[in-house]
């Protein structure tokens, strides 16, 4: 009944996808846009590329206003979306690449050179003549990257380029992007749900939540946002009391029926705390880890209720 009613009466909620936000990206920088689902990251990317026109504010990319969709602007940018494909499904990738060669007016010799260069870096030379629909997700994504880099763009927008890929494929794409950036010095703006992408590639992080910027700075500063703390995990041969005085000051999180505990310890106290626990409790193993970006994100999200 609700569906029928919606034919003539519908309530709309107006919500700003992106609120006033100041962001400056330097030439050659790689920045990571982080944030939960619906934070406004993809909308930002679409505004940067001129796909979506902002209702207010000023935006300049490479000296152009993206909303005007100037021909020269479109020649200088590239966009990869992990969840969408620009390659034709029913033809080999090489045919789609040739079409792009015509769009960007790339001379034939240069085109073949670029195809060879990119295909060998991405290890997809044999896949160039295979129909796109017959390729694995990882192979397709590599070819998507190739398609977006053919015209040697000055700025690359990568919207979740490793989504859905297995760990090996993710790592290869990260390595490729790092090498490509090192060689060409292009500007890269990346969004990803995989923190490994961000930590491996980005020099700078911009945290967006509910369309607002919550952090903008180097990745190390982001990690240190919660204080200089480390996570330490201890494994015991006997279950431990959850109120043990050696553990309770360090925000313990117990697991495996008291046989494991994870503590959050300031870096300057780490040595003393570990020594005391190792001396007084039946520890079988332990491991430490720096405050990972995921944890910082989770903590910030729970603090802001985003």
């Amino acid at each position: 009944m609700g569906s029928l009613q919606s034919l003539w009466k519908r309530d709309f909620i107006e919500k700003a996808a992106v609120k006033p936000l100041y962001l400056e990206v330097r030439r050659g920088e790689i920045i990571g846009l982080l944030g939960p689902n619906g934070a406004g990251k993809t909308t930002l990317m679409k505004m940067f590329t001129g796909i979506v026109v902002p209702t207010a504010g000023q935006l300049r990319v490479l000296g152009f206003e993206p909303a005007k969709r100037d021909l020269y602007f479109r020649q200088k940018i590239a966009l990869v979306m992990g969840q969408k494909s620009q390659l034709w499904w029913d033809i080999p990738a090489m045919d789609s690449l040739q079409l792009l060669m015509r769009y960007y007016e790339i001379p034939k010799n240069l085109f073949l050179e670029r195809v060879h260069y990119l295909a060998s870096l991405l290890e997809v030379e044999p896949q160039l003549q295979v129909h796109i629909r017959k390729l694995s997700l990882g192979e397709r994504m590599k070819l998507e990257l190739m398609a977006c880099l053919l015209h040697d763009p000055q700025i690359i927008f990568l919207d979740e380029p490793t989504i859905g890929l297995d760990l090996i494929a993710q790592r290869k794409i990260r390595e490729f992007l790092l090498n490509y950036h090192r060689e060409r010095g292009v500007t890269v703006i990346l969004t990803s749900h995989y923190m490994a992408d961000v930590t491996a590639l980005c020099q700078r992080i911009v945290l967006v939540m509910n369309g607002e910027k919550h952090f903008d700075g180097p990745i190390r500063a982001f990690e240190g946002l919660m204080g200089q703390e480390k996570y330490v995990k201890f494994f015991f041969s006997q279950a431990q009391n959850e109120q043990h005085p050696l553990l309770i000051p360090w925000h313990p999180s117990f697991g495996n029926q008291g046989l494991e505990v994870e503590l959050r310890v300031p870096e300057d106290k780490l040595k003393d705390v570990c020594a005391a626990i190792l001396q007084n409790l039946p520890v079988t193993d332990f491991q430490t880890e720096k405050m990972p970006v995921e944890r910082v994100m989770q903590e910030l999200l729970s603090r802001t209720g985003a």
Binding site: I51, Y72, L79, K84, D90, P92, L99, Y103, E160
Partner: protein, 264 residues
């Protein structure tokens, strides 16, 4: 200017190559499309032929004139199916799923990319049939060589007018998001255009001549061919094409600014 023309010619050649590669991937589908179009031509012609077995004239036209009119519209339809029809269906889907994003950022004219990107090579092969129909019924209807010379120009004008109207109507897809309904509406308008204007009376005739002027597509050029002094409809159609393109520029510009894309 010459450089731009060359660029677009090369892109179009690539469109054709990729569409041909795509079409021939599924051989039975390729053949079925041809058979389906042939069936459509046959049913259209035999329906009118059946009527003329019982009457000697429909309105002012005899059998040969009516059949030539149908041949003209079938040719416009064949050109439409070959060069643009598929693109309207793809546009509807790409607005809904956000695939249009990739076209917007390409350094190529957007109308060109949207409306000329999808070619149906199977329908192209049918040009032999439509050209034969035009020649056969044109000769029987008494057309002279001058009229036959004018025929290609008139076909292009008719196709351009039809496509312009459709592009204008398609802008609504940006606000409706689901454009399948708009595409069916377009198809029904094409159905209306397949009849001579004298079949309609009063308000419907005025509506389809002046408001949504689909009756001009076949009627204006064919009436001009039959009576060269009856060119007012043809002039009206050419003038309207210009007006429609002014409207397209304005409405499409607004539509593209309001394009919301789709979430990823």
């Amino acid at each position: 200017m010459l450089g731009t023309l060359k660029k677009y010619a090369l892109i179009y050649r690539e469109f054709f190559a990729t569409c041909l590669a795509e079409a021939t991937t599924y051989r039975m589908h390729f053949v079925l499309l041809i058979v389906m179009d042939l069936l459509f031509y046959a049913t259209t012609l035999t329906t009118v032929d059946f009527i003329y077995q019982h009457v000697s004239a429909v309105g002012p036209w005899d059998r040969n004139q009516f059949m030539f009119f149908l041949a003209f519209l079938l040719t416009v339809d064949q050109l439409h199916m070959t060069f643009v029809s598929e693109s309207f269906w793809v546009l509807s889907a790409s607005i809904r799923n956000g695939d249009l994003d990739f076209l917007i950022i390409k350094p190529v004219n957007l109308y060109f990319l949207i409306f000329l990107r999808h070619i149906r090579p199977a329908s192209m092969l049918l040009c032999f049939v439509t050209v034969f129909l035009l020649w056969h019924f044109g000769t029987k209807a008494g057309l002279g060589w001058v009229q036959f010379m004018l025929l290609p120009v008139l076909l292009i004008l008719a196709l351009l007018f039809l496509v312009s109207l459709e592009i204008l109507i398609s802008a609504s897809m940006f606000w409706l998001v689901e454009g399948t309904g708009v595409n069916f509406f377009r198809m029904q308008l094409q159905q209306v255009s397949r009849w001579p204007d004298f079949v309609f009376y009063g308000l419907p005739r005025r509506f389809f001549t002046f408001v949504i002027p689909v009756l001009l597509i076949g009627n204006a050029p064919v009436q001009f061919l039959f009576s060269p002094f009856a060119f007012s409809s043809l002039l009206w159609m050419i003038g309207l094409t210009v007006v429609i393109w002014v409207l397209i520029e304005r409405i499409w510009s607004k539509a593209l600014r309001q394009y919301e894309s789709a979430s990823s």
